[in-house]
């Protein structure tokens, strides 16, 4: 698909993601504050193409008569902030720890990798529950929490690549010419670690959007009335039989976001071969 014009496998998911982000953050402003207000007279109105629909509520309304389009987009603000923010945090933390573990090795390596194993052994939801109970569930808290949920993968990928690059002959040659560790990391290791971590970042966004949804669904996310895809689904579950659209739109958004994030990751991996084998080995499907 490449070489002849543009690479659709890369640009389609990227385009959809950008569109989603823009819609979620700009859309509610265009729709005006009124649409998000409760209007008990307009409860559970169906989407526009079904009988009983209300004008100006194209995706229907929820149990409080709020416009589902506005709610879904507003919910996206939280879910995407948390998903993208935490993925970025996780990759940054992972790159630092991975470089330390893989490049310098020794006891740092043993401590970090043991930490990763122990961390994975803890049930994350229990930790999240405890954390939310103690410090509440603002967006920054959720981002930190999910950063903790996602740091292991980028750490492992970075460590494996750093370990390999460090012993490549051309890195040894540069060391043999008197290069400092900082030079070697900046000049030879980072350029190989970065593209791989962009791929990991993509996959992590997808994974964390799902986890954020799950936390919110369980009531561990942002507190209502602030919407997030997860708590909209939770709120809509009792009406699944009568007003399926409450659950459907946020669920659809989660699915689209995750598929696009993963497709983007796959396309990037195909584009930069560097680290592809490492990522394949570390990502357990």
């Amino acid at each position: 698909m490449r070489r002849r014009g543009i690479d659709l496998r890369l640009w389609v998911p990227l385009g959809v993601l950008v569109l989603t982000i823009v819609a979620c953050f700009v859309g509610p402003m265009l729709l005006g504050p009124e649409a998000g207000q409760q209007a008990l007279g307009e409860r559970l109105a169906p989407p526009a193409w079904l009988p009983g629909a209300i004008d100006g509520r194209p995706l229907g309304t929820d149990a409080f008569g709020r416009d589902m389009l506005t709610r879904t987009l507003e919910g996206g603000q939280v879910s995407l902030q948390v998903g993208f923010g935490a993925a970025t945090g996780a990759v940054l933390v992972g790159m630092v720890l991975g470089l330390v573990a893989g490049y310098w090795g020794g006891w740092c390596d043993r401590v970090i990798m043991a930490g990763a194993d122990i961390w994975l052994a803890f049930p994350f939801l229990v930790i999240a529950l405890a954390a939310v109970a103690v410090v509440g569930s603002d967006i920054p808290v959720l981002i930190v929490l999910l950063t903790l949920g996602g740091w292991v993968l980028p750490t492992r990928v970075t460590r494996t690549i750093a370990l390999r690059v460090r012993s490549e002959d051309y890195v040894v040659a540069a060391a043999g010419a008197g290069a400092s560790d900082l030079y070697l990391v900046r000049r030879h290791v980072l350029p190989q670690v970065l593209p791989a971590n962009l791929v990991v970042w993509s996959f992590t966004v997808g994974a964390l959007v799902v986890i954020e949804g799950a936390l919110s669904f369980l009531g561990l996310g942002v507190k209502p009335p602030t919407a997030s895809w997860g708590n909209i689904i939770a709120d809509g579950t009792p009406y699944l039989q009568t007003a399926w659209w409450i659950v459907a739109w946020p669920a659809l958004m989660i699915v689209v976001t995750v598929i696009c994030a993963n497709a983007l990751g796959n396309a990037l991996r195909g584009r930069w071969n560097a680290g592809a084998d490492v990522i394949d080995k570390e990502v357990v499907p």
């Binding site: 490549e168 002959d169 051309y170 890195v171 040894v172 040659a173 540069a174 060391a175 043999g176 010419a177 008197g178 290069a179 030079y183 030879h188 350029p191």
Partner: protein
Amino acid sequence: MSPVIALEGLAKGYDIAGGARLTAVDDVSLTIAAGETYALVGESGCGKSTLARMAAMLTAPDAGQVSWSGQTVSQQRRSAVRAVRDHTQFVFQDPAAALSPRLTVEEAVSEPLRIRRRTGSRSVADLLDDVGLDRSMGRRYPRELSGGQRQRVVIARALALEPKLLVLDEPVASLDVSVQAQVLNLLADLQAEHGLAYLLIAHDLAVVSSVADRIGVMYLGQIVEEGPAGDVVTTPRHPYTQMLIASVPAFVPGERGERPRVVGDPASPTERRTGCAFATRCAFATQVCLDVAPPRRELGDVAVRCHHAS
């Protein structure tokens, strides 16, 4: 004048899985003079590459001492370490792995100078000239070059800091036959031009005999025979050297099949042993070979570690 490099009693071991210890290099001493090519010959696992890396200060020895033009270096002194970097450079076996895929030829050749933040007396173009590459190659990436061209780039990079000694680890083993000779001749020209000393690591005695002034034969971490190349090749004293020479294809059809048989695999470098490491494969081994490690003995210009050589 002190030799360009002197190794004294070098030893290096590695801990390997299962708690065993692998003795890679065991009490090796050698010296190389300016303009001289010293070739280390041996089979895989004999420790020659580990020795080469210690000579280039890429690996620290467990015991023993290396002195570069009379200077010994404690690892702490940064300026002294850098002096060694200027003094000795390393040329790798696989030129594809020795060049970063992300750097152009020009960037690769100038990298040592960039690292040291200084300008060499020779420009990148001069260095490319030296190794017989067209200046226009400077913009290319390694993947656009042939194996022979890549190895020339690696050599040019090694020359950038104007070293006195090049450590060459199997520099032609991965190249096509018709290109090997070009690179070997290039190395000889560079040596004549710059008065370089070479420590050449090789497994191919035929290659070694045509380029080396002196040859050291390594077996399981020790130099078992060392001397002027002509003596070692024509009158090998150590049974292992004799076996190596017998393994070189005769190249004259019809001579085949009439050479001493070669037996056994090299013993494992992890095994603890008393006596001579080669005894298990040696046709002349006696009880003393199994009991007592043979000391280094001088026989004229040649030094041998064998109880029975004469």
